[in-house]
């Protein structure tokens, strides 16, 4: 093997290693994802330690929530994440229309989540429950509304990607945009996976 071949092989191996090591999508979204994880993490832990000082109030207030709504919403977000994975797999094979189809499924499931959350929020506001009612509801409304806004933002990102995919804007060689949106959507999913048992189930 001559020197030129060795240099070429080393460069190719380096590129492959970089691809394996690097995060999916644009790195900028990961700075945002890590910042959001930190913000939610602080809120999750603050909820748990605030509850530790007033267990009876938290347990009684928690029982007023619709756990079935939370359960259906968890299934909706997990399934939407699955659709996103299939969308990314489709575009890696150059299947733009299939990618748009799977992402549209994820978008609709996100819409289901939003619809159920709006019904839940409406029921609480109709019962005159606000953030100042007690510490539990302060955390419940803050956490779920903060997450609700992330779902909305994720749906806007998905809608933009779906439109571009339908126009053939992505290909098997150029799918960073799809992976970037997918990474954000999966973050929205796993934050809810923690939020649901913490606020609705664990007593």
């Amino acid at each position: 093997m001559n020197q030129a071949n060795i240099i070429s092989d080393t460069a190719a191996n380096g590129a492959a290693a970089k691809e394996i090591d690097s995060l999916p999508g644009d790195f900028a979204i990961w700075i945002f994802i890590f910042a959001e994880m930190l913000a939610f993490g602080v809120l999750f832990v603050a909820y748990a330690f605030t509850r530790a000082k007033n267990v009876e109030l938290f347990n009684a207030s928690q029982l007023t929530l619709s756990r079935t709504s939370g359960f259906i919403n968890t299934l909706a977000l997990i399934s939407s994440s699955y659709c996103v994975v299939r969308g990314v797999a489709a575009i890696k094979q150059g299947l733009s229309k299939q990618c748009a189809g799977w992402l549209s499924g994820a978008f609709l499931l996100g819409g289901l989540f939003i619809g159920i959350k709006l019904v839940e929020f409406n029921a609480k506001f109709a019962a005159d429950i606000t953030m100042s009612t007690n510490d539990f509801y302060m955390f419940y409304l803050a956490l779920t509304f903060f997450h609700f806004m992330h779902v909305l933002m994720g749906m806007v990102i998905l809608a933009v990607i779906i439109m571009k995919a339908r126009r053939g804007g992505y290909s098997a060689a150029d799918y960073v945009g799809v992976e970037t949106g997918a990474s954000f959507w999966h973050m929205v999913d796993f934050l809810w996976i923690i939020l649901f048992p913490l606020v609705y189930i664990i007593r």
């Binding site: 530790a52 000082k53 399934s79 990474s183 189930i201």
Partner: protein, 86 residues
């Protein structure tokens, strides 16, 4: 094959979520239940990060950050629940 694996992960997540909901429905509570529910939650989150986000193909640093996050947040929540004043 890859899609089949993804589908299996999705079904496992659905099953674990249904388990979480069922534990609540049958009225199980207590410290052991809380720890089991937290373990299921952290397992599900790790599954989404590894298999849906695709972090299992990333470097140790990124997988370590994600695993560390779930471990620290989960542990702090568990400590808070264990030291709760009833």
């Amino acid at each position: 094959m890859k899609n089949t694996f993804t589908t299996i992960i999705w079904l496992a997540l659905i099953l674990l979520t249904t388990m979480t909901y069922s534990i609540d429905l049958i009225g199980m509570s207590g410290k052991a239940t809380m720890l089991a529910l937290l373990a299921i939650t952290m397992l599900k989150s790790q599954m989404v990060a590894n298999y849906f986000m695709g972090l299992r193909k990333c470097g140790t640093l990124w997988r370590g950050i994600m695993f560390g996050y779930f471990l620290i947040v989960g542990s702090l929540i568990a400590i808070a629940y264990l030291m709760a004043e009833h």
